[in-house]
């Protein structure tokens, strides 16, 4: 099976998200304003309900109840509403268990949120597109869902390779299948009409040095943030430490990275309580 064949398996892969790719494109547009975002979110009742629920939760503790989207934007600001929509939308895809990889219900979502929270802190200077680091963090492992649904039975052999040859998971996938979950995720996101700012860094998260120059910093930040989420303990699954960390992939002081991890851990706890992220 090729990666193209995998993502063409529309009978096994979930349908494309409606709101999130459009929302990312709005954030790219310098002329867009909050009314464009409110109008878009209003088209999806489930996302709207999720935004209101989270806006009113202990994660934000608004001074007065948030009753509609205009309220949410006024109270929290457009950037925070963008993050909330990302979180609520990605939950539909990331909340399920992936038994082929020993990933329990909610674990992939919690891991992805931890990566997003770290990215938010360490990758600010890697892009001028507001909210992009957070989106990358939330979607970086979407390929694992595609792999589980499309070729999950292969993971017995993939894990055998990891354990006997001490290979990282992405390398074991590439040797077994000819592609890894980063490439699968990148292709899924491209097919779902996300802009290249999203799917290119995700493609190169395990080998950021090879990313096109415009996206090298973002891919490097993802490489490091993925490890940071593991430090928090958000890396359920078998052989979850089977990572090759590339030296010089992303320039950051050790103490700065560890502080970002500690801060992410605090925010993650609030989100867990508010949305049930990662509660299994």
């Amino acid at each position: 099976m090729t990666v193209e064949e995998l993502i063409q398996k529309t009978d096994t892969l979930p349908p494309a998200p409606e709101v999130l790719p459009k929302l990312v494109k709005i954030m790219k547009d310098p002329d867009a304003d909050s009314s464009d975002i409110v109008q878009l979110i209003s088209t999806d009742a489930a996302i709207m309900a999720g935004v209101l629920k989270l806006s009113n939760s202990g994660a934000y503790s608004p001074p007065s109840p948030v009753t509609d989207l205009q309220d949410a934007v006024a109270m929290l600001g457009i950037k925070e509403v963008y993050r909330i929509v990302n979180l609520v939308s990605s939950g539909d895809y990331l909340d399920g268990a992936l038994p082929s990889m020993d990933i329990g219900k909610g674990s992939l979502w919690a891991h992805s949120l931890a990566v997003a929270l770290i990215m938010d802190q360490i990758a600010k200077d890697a892009t001028d597109m507001e909210g992009l680091p957070y989106t990358l963090g939330l979607l970086h492992d979407i390929g694992k869902l595609g792999m589980h649904l499309g070729c999950g039975e292969q993971y017995v052999d993939i894990f055998k390779k990891v354990e006997t040859e001490r290979l990282s998971l992405d390398k074991a996938e590439s040797q077994t299948l000819g592609f890894d979950h980063a490439l699968a995720g990148s292709k899924m996101l491209e097919q779902w009409s996300f802009p290249e700012e999203v799917y290119v860094p995700i493609r190169y998260q395990y080998n950021p040095i090879e990313a096109p120059e415009a996206y090298r910093k973002l891919a490097g930040a993802l490489h490091v943030a993925n490890w940071g989420a593991a430090v928090i303990g958000c890396n359920d699954g078998r052989d979850s430490w089977a990572l090759d960390m590339i030296e010089g992939a992303f320039e950051i002081e050790q103490s700065q990275l560890e502080l970002a991890i500690l801060n992410a851990n605090e925010h993650l706890e609030k989100a867990r309580k508010a949305l049930g992220v990662g509660s299994n």
């Binding site: 593991a230 430490w241 960390m245 990275l257 502080l259 500690l262």
Partner: protein, 173 residues
């Protein structure tokens, strides 16, 4: 009746210790548990004489990174959390000379600089502190690339270690 719980198991209570947290107990019906130790290190300490046990789940080796956060959550760091656990154990009449320990976790990446080998740094910090206190370590299951889950039965001193590869039992009694 097949599969019916035994009477003692009906009274068992589980206390789950989260990341950056600790618990001690002298209640024989309590199981102390912590889940998914990756690079974090879990330390279980037990005194069989008084049936007192403790468990701590540390994330980072050194509190100088953030004294503020260490003040709020001392068990996040090895150097601030472990002394508190030993103080709390002694508060329940455990004695250092009788304590026996089990250490687990400290997974690290397959390759990368020391910066990314946080599991190894955690193990070193924990070993240094345990040695300084003169505590006997019965077993250490550390390193590698797997997550680990550990449980202590406070009534018996039995430790259960679960990894994706299997489950094993160790007695600290």
């Amino acid at each position: 009746m097949s599969g019916a719980p035994t009477l003692p198991s009906l009274f068992q209570q589980r206390v789950v210790v989260g990341v950056g947290d600790l618990a001690v107990s002298n209640n024989a019906n309590v199981n102390l548990s912590t889940f998914a130790l990756g690079s974090c290190v879990g330390i279980i300490v037990y005194d069989k004489e008084v049936k007192v046990g403790g468990l701590i789940h540390i994330m980072l080796p050194d509190s100088t990174l953030s004294p503020d956060k260490a003040q709020k959550q001392p068990a996040m760091f090895a150097d601030t959390g472990m002394p508190i656990m030993f103080r709390n154990l002694c508060g329940l009449r455990a004695e250092r000379r009788r304590m026996r320990a089990f250490v687990a976790g400290g997974a690290s990446v397959i390759s990368g600089s020391d910066m990314f080998k946080i599991g190894e740094r955690n193990i070193l910090a924990v070993k240094k502190l345990i040695n300084a206190l003169g505590i006997q370590v019965v077993k250490a299951d550390v390193g590698g690339v797997n997550n680990r889950t550990i449980h202590l039965n406070v009534g018996t001193g039995e430790v259960t270690l679960k990894t994706p590869i299997g489950t094993s039992k160790i007695s600290l009694a």
